[in-house]
């Protein structure tokens, strides 16, 4: 009976989730405690917080790589603790890790992307179509026959994303996908991420970079395994106290905009990108 998927509710629901790493010697260490959270279809949630605050643990709870010690995680109505749903859940919720080298298995790019699909027993014609589609989406079609180890970091990370994308997930969890990349690679990957969001895939982005966080629609700040903030980027930039004790530093463009507003320039309350700031400044000046 457990094979039957409950009535379709297209969202991930975390209810009172705690996770405790087993520690044989000492008292248990809670990486996450009583977290309640929903990620809806098409959402773009970013998870921030210092090292050790529970970000990666939370990321791994979304697709049953870890199971909650207390509380429950439901993916489209399927409880991650129910083993019968494991494969369904893993196809719905894709994972992209920090280091693409740890995730790439194929000897050439297109084989690597096909790997997950082959394991699901999908017919070859469909595999071909999905691999081509995924490569196209992340902009790597021209390296289809290249060995992945000869690609740049940004290209490799996009291969890893294509591999996940080919599974046609509804959600993708990205755990610091740009932290090992150079500026060019980071830009490529961020472009791809935004493209995916445009396709209607819900994204959960774990990052330390505030510039990236500002792209999301919602932000969750974790501190010692607890939610210290959940809200929009525009709300977070106003939370001086929280930013200080969570050691989060606003991107230079946002700090500049805040100072300019303080200096009597009627800028809108939230401008996340440098281009937006210069465009708005020019428009305001023309109208004075």
């Amino acid at each position: 009976m457990s094979q039957i998927i409950p009535a379709m509710t297209p969202k991930i629901v975390l209810e009172g989730v705690s996770y405790c790493y087993p520690d044989p010697s000492a008292s248990p260490v809670y990486a996450l405690s009583s977290l309640t959270l929903e990620v809806e279809a098409g959402d773009f949630l970013c998870i921030l917080g210092p090292n050790g605050s529970g970000k990666s643990t939370l990321g791994r709870l979304f697709n049953a790589l870890l199971l909650p010690t207390e509380g429950s995680v439901q993916v489209d109505g399927m409880d991650t603790r129910n083993n019968a749903f494991l494969w369904k859940i893993r196809t719905r919720v894709g994972m992209v890790f920090q280091n693409p080298d740890n995730q790439i298995v194929g000897t050439i790019v297109e084989e690597d992307i096909a790997f997950g699909l082959e394991n699901l027993g999908i017919p070859p014609i469909e595999i071909r179509a999905r691999v081509d589609w995924a490569m196209e989406k992340v902009g790597i079609s021209s390296y289809a026959k290249h060995p992945p180890n000869l690609l740049s970091g940004g290209q490799k990370q996009r291969v890893a994303i294509a591999g996940v994308l080919a599974m046609k997930p509804s959600y993708i969890v990205l755990d610091e996908p740009t932290s090992l990349l150079d500026p060019k690679g980071r830009e490529e990957v961020l472009g791809t991420i935004q493209e995916l969001h445009g396709e209607g895939i819900a994204l959960i982005l774990i990052t330390h970079r505030m510039e990236e966080a500002m792209l999301a629609s919602r932000l969750l700040v974790l501190e010692k395994g607890e939610a210290a903030f959940l809200g929009s980027p525009a709300q977070l930039v106003e939370e001086d106290e929280l930013l200080r004790h969570a050691h989060l530093e606003l991107p230079p463009a946002i700090r500049l905009a805040q100072l300019l507003r303080g200096g009597g320039i009627p800028l809108p309350p939230f401008l996340s990108r440098p281009e937006e700031l210069t465009r708005t400044l020019c428009a305001l000046k023309r109208s004075t």
Binding site: N51, D182, H208, H247, L256, L277, T278
Partner: protein, 286 residues
């Protein structure tokens, strides 16, 4: 210590089908006590250059002089050069191996044949230099530390050799904002208090702009631009030609200048930039 690189060329796999000229006739100097940023796209030759500077790689042609002494001179043992030029690799914490922090840092000085007291003194001093309390951290297992702390321990291990030049390659990569700030503060203090020559390799132009006095830009194994930080970060186009973007604040200023605002580009301080922009906004021509 003064470092001179003369006509350095380095070729990986000479004569092989995948032969790669990583550095191509590069000449440059680093003066005593200077804080220099070394930047360039991935594959531009930054890491090859810093490995040549401390003798980890031998140049295919050209030479490196440390205070006038040729690194390739057979009469000066190569390990002596390595002692003087401390190189902190990318992800140096992966090289930690001992059971305690103090043991790990003591490894290098002990191999120099220093006395037990001298080794202990160096361990303590280098922990203090990176801002880790010796009594609190000395006996900890390095693997129980946070990412940022591990990296500080790895840097302390290099400092225990008392190098006269410190080279750090992507030293903040992958750290959280707090770890990043701690490491950069420590490096800034080392430069200021110990008057060490520091060469910093980084992809983060905001980081470079806020710290260094001079910038060297590499592209395809050659020097593409070099000069005082403000000068190098004043011209968006020529920098773009080297595959490098301006730091965030100069980028914004540069776009405003293109739209007809009268502003300098090479300002790195947010407050200073805000003051200048506000002034031009209220009083400048439309």
């Amino acid at each position: 210590m003064r470092i001179e690189a003369e006509h350095l060329t380095y070729i990986y796999g000479p004569g092989l089908p995948w032969e790669k000229r990583a550095l191509d006739d590069v000449s440059l100097q680093f003066e005593e006590g200077e804080f220099v940023g070394l930047v360039g796209e991935t594959g531009s030759g930054k890491s090859t250059l810093v490995q040549l500077l401390n003798g980890l790689l031998r140049p295919t042609s050209g030479r490196v002089l440390l205070d006038g002494v040729d690194l390739a001179d057979k009469r000066t043992p190569i390990w002596k050069a390595r002692l003087q030029v401390g190189l902190v690799f990318q992800f140096p914490e992966s090289q930690l191996f001992a059971e305690t922090v103090a043991e790990d840092i003591a490894f290098g000085p002990r191999n120099l044949g220093l006395s037990r007291q001298e080794v202990a003194k160096r361990v303590e001093e280098s922990l203090l230099k990176v801002g880790l309390e010796p009594a609190r951290f000395g006996q900890r297992n390095p693997f129980t530390l946070s990412g940022g702390e591990k990296r500080l321990v790895a840097i302390a291990g290099i400092l225990a050799m008392c190098p006269r030049v410190l080279i750090v390659d992507e030293v903040t990569a992958g750290l959280d904002p707090r770890g990043k700030r701690d490491i950069l503060t420590r490096i800034k203090l080392l430069h200021r208090n110990e008057r060490a020559t520091v060469i910093m390799v980084s992809h983060d132009m905001d980081e470079i702009a806020s710290l260094v006095e001079r910038v060297v830009v590499l592209k395809s194994g050659r020097i593409c631009r070099q000069g005082p930080t403000r000068e190098v970060f004043s011209d968006e186009e020529s920098l773009a030609g080297c595959g490098i973007r301006l730091p965030t604040i100069p980028q914004i200023l540069s776009s405003l200048v293109k739209a007809g605002w009268r502003l300098p580009v090479s300002i790195f301080e947010v407050r200073e930039a805000a003051r200048l922009i506000a002034q031009e906004y209220h009083h400048g021509p439309v």
